[in-house]
Amino acid sequence: MLRIEHLVCGYGGESVVRDVSFRVGEGEKLCILGPNGCGKTTLLRALAGLLPSQGRLELEGGDLRALPARQRAQRLALMSQFSPASFDYTVYETVMLGRYAHQRGGLLAAESGADRRIAEESLRRTGAWELRDRLVTELSGGQLQRVFLARTFAQEPRVILLDEPTNHLDLRYQVELMDTLRQWAAAGGRCVVGVLHDINLALSFADTVLLLEEGQVMDWRPMAEFDLGTLNRLYGMDVGGHMRAALRRWS
């Protein structure tokens, strides 16, 4: 459903991502892997429309770049790294802001019954319902990321882009967050494209892996056909050996 062809983007006239092409199907979860500075985040920001880019960027045949901001946000949402909230909104108000792209603007803009129902569903789905009257400034990192995930769901996108959403989270919250996203993606007409720093988390979450090396696609294939040895070359170390050594401590 998501189709990227010959994508080029970068900063200040210098291309960081060069000639990247891939597709993401319905229900698919694609993870982008690669060492620091390979262009993962730049690619993700271009997909989110935060960065100008050249090449094709299509969702179900429609050009994503031609859409005005609100319409793009109805299709594509971004779930970012953890960053603390600095203004005293309640959890409910925060999740309701996810409805922004679907609401009409103007002096008398008001939230509809449908907005409230969707915000409440999103709160329940992420297990944040009990937090709804708390202030976002009082929450722990794990709780706050759940609230931001609820806000992302409330946006009702077709595609969720993940920019290292599990950074700074405890292991339990990481696993919970990815489980919730997995269920979301399975509901039909949806897909996820993610940058996850933790290779283990990425490999357990992804159906498809895209390896980036210096801004270009080094490998792109389903998890089932993926040769883990490729990672050793990409990261310039024995990734598998490192993982196995860690695992031995548990057995």
């Binding site: 920001r45 989110a48 429309g49 935060l50 005005p68 901001a69 609100r70 319409q71 793009r72 946000a73 109805q74 594509l76 949402a77 971004l78 970012s80 960053s83 909230a85 600095s86 203004f87 005293d88 909104y89 309640t90 108000e93 925060t94 802001l97 996810g98 922004y100 792209a101 609401q103 603007g105 103007g106 002096l107 803009a109 202030l135 009082e138 946006q155 882009l161």
Partner: protein
């Protein structure tokens, strides 16, 4: 509903502040008499018997315009401060940081030092300072956009600061070069509502009301923007366009306030913080509440400025800080413990 009750309480408090401001002075006029005079003027109702005829002239001719100007100036500054803090996601941001005050100050200083303060029936000074305020903000935003196409907040804050310091330096040089006028420049800098006429109210009041309505229209965008610029864009906010619109409106509104009342600090900084403690962060509530709080606070500060050391007036800018600092600390820290 709790916030509706609080808003009503704040509205009543603002009305009380207005009545106090008009009533207290060399001669005390009771609230009932003030209302009778205003209603007599507006609806032609008869004045109460036994009320000295001079009251009417004093209230309508001197005190009411002064108090209303203070109210609308306070409201304009408080609303501008709220918007700036949200756009720049910085609790220390204020419209003065964009260079509004120093630009206006430079313009005013030039007019005063050239001995032209009385030209155009006194209208030249506010016109030039408003023009210079807008020009400074325009330069700040243009330079920031040039340095950084995304106009990030840090760039805007830094450019605004540098430009402010630059304008201040020229203003100090101008003032010190002309000993005759240097005191007037300094006094203008500290702000005052004395000797203001209805024409000033006629300029600042509609600006404050329109400004509030304009920002209220963007309440939801402001809410989304407090969570970060990238996030706001990804949530559907047309960031660059809205940021320019809002910054321009802030410059215009603050510029109007500064042009007529001089540079009055502190209200723009504290009003949003105090109001957020009471009403939460949603701009649908914070914007009108800031206007009411900022207006009422300014009226009370002006009352203190003219009644504490008669017949001398204390510059209003020093009163806002003097009363504002302890009040701010009280509300901020008391609220923090409770919540």
């Amino acid at each position: 509903m709790k916030s509706a009750a609080r808003m009503t309480a704040l509205l009543l408090a603002a009305l009380a502040a207005l009545l106090l401001g008009v009533g207290i002075g060399s001669v005390y006029v009771a609230p009932g008499d003030i209302l009778a005079i205003v209603s007599g003027r507006l609806f032609g109702t008869p004045l109460p018997e036994g009320m000295p005829p001079s009251y009417s002239a004093m209230v309508l001719g001197m005190r009411l315009p002064r108090v209303l100007l203070a109210f609308f100036t306070g409201a304009a500054l408080a609303v501008s401060g709220t918007v700036m803090q949200s756009i720049l996601q910085n609790p220390l941001a204020s419209p003065f940081g964009l260079g509004v005050s120093s630009g206006a100050g430079l313009g005013a200083a030039a007019v005063i030092v050239l001995g032209l303060a009385g030209s155009l029936g006194g209208a030249l000074l506010p016109l030039v300072s408003l023009g210079c305020a807008l020009a400074t903000v325009f330069i700040t935003v243009a330079v920031a956009a040039r340095l950084d196409r995304g106009m990030s907040n840090v760039t805007i804050i830094l450019v605004g600061m540098v430009l402010s310091l630059f304008c201040n330096a020229i203003m100090s040089m101008l003032a010190s070069s002309s000993p005759t006028y240097s005191q007037r420049v300094q006094l203008w800098q500290l702000g005052s509502f004395s000797m203001k006429e209805w024409s000033a109210v006629g300029a600042v009041a509609p600006a404050a009301a329109l400004g509030l309505a304009f920002f209220f229209r963007f309440a939801r965008e402001l809410d989304v923007m407090t969570f970060g610029e990238e996030q706001a864009q990804a949530m559907g906010v047309d960031l660059l366009r809205i940021k320019r619109l809002l910054l321009g409106a802030v410059a215009l509104l603050t510029g109007m306030a500064v042009a007529f009342a001089g540079v009055i600090g502190f209200v723009d900084l504290i009003a949003p913080h105090v109001v957020r403690r009471w009403f939460g962060a949603a701009h649908r509530r914070v914007l009108p509440a800031s206007a009411l709080f900022g207006g009422a606070f300014m009226v009370l500060c002006d009352l203190a400025a003219r009644t504490l050391t008669p017949p001398h007036e204390i510059p209003i800018g020093s009163i806002t800080a003097l009363l504002g600092a302890p009040f701010f600390l009280y509300v901020f820290f008391a609220g923090r413990k409770r919540r």
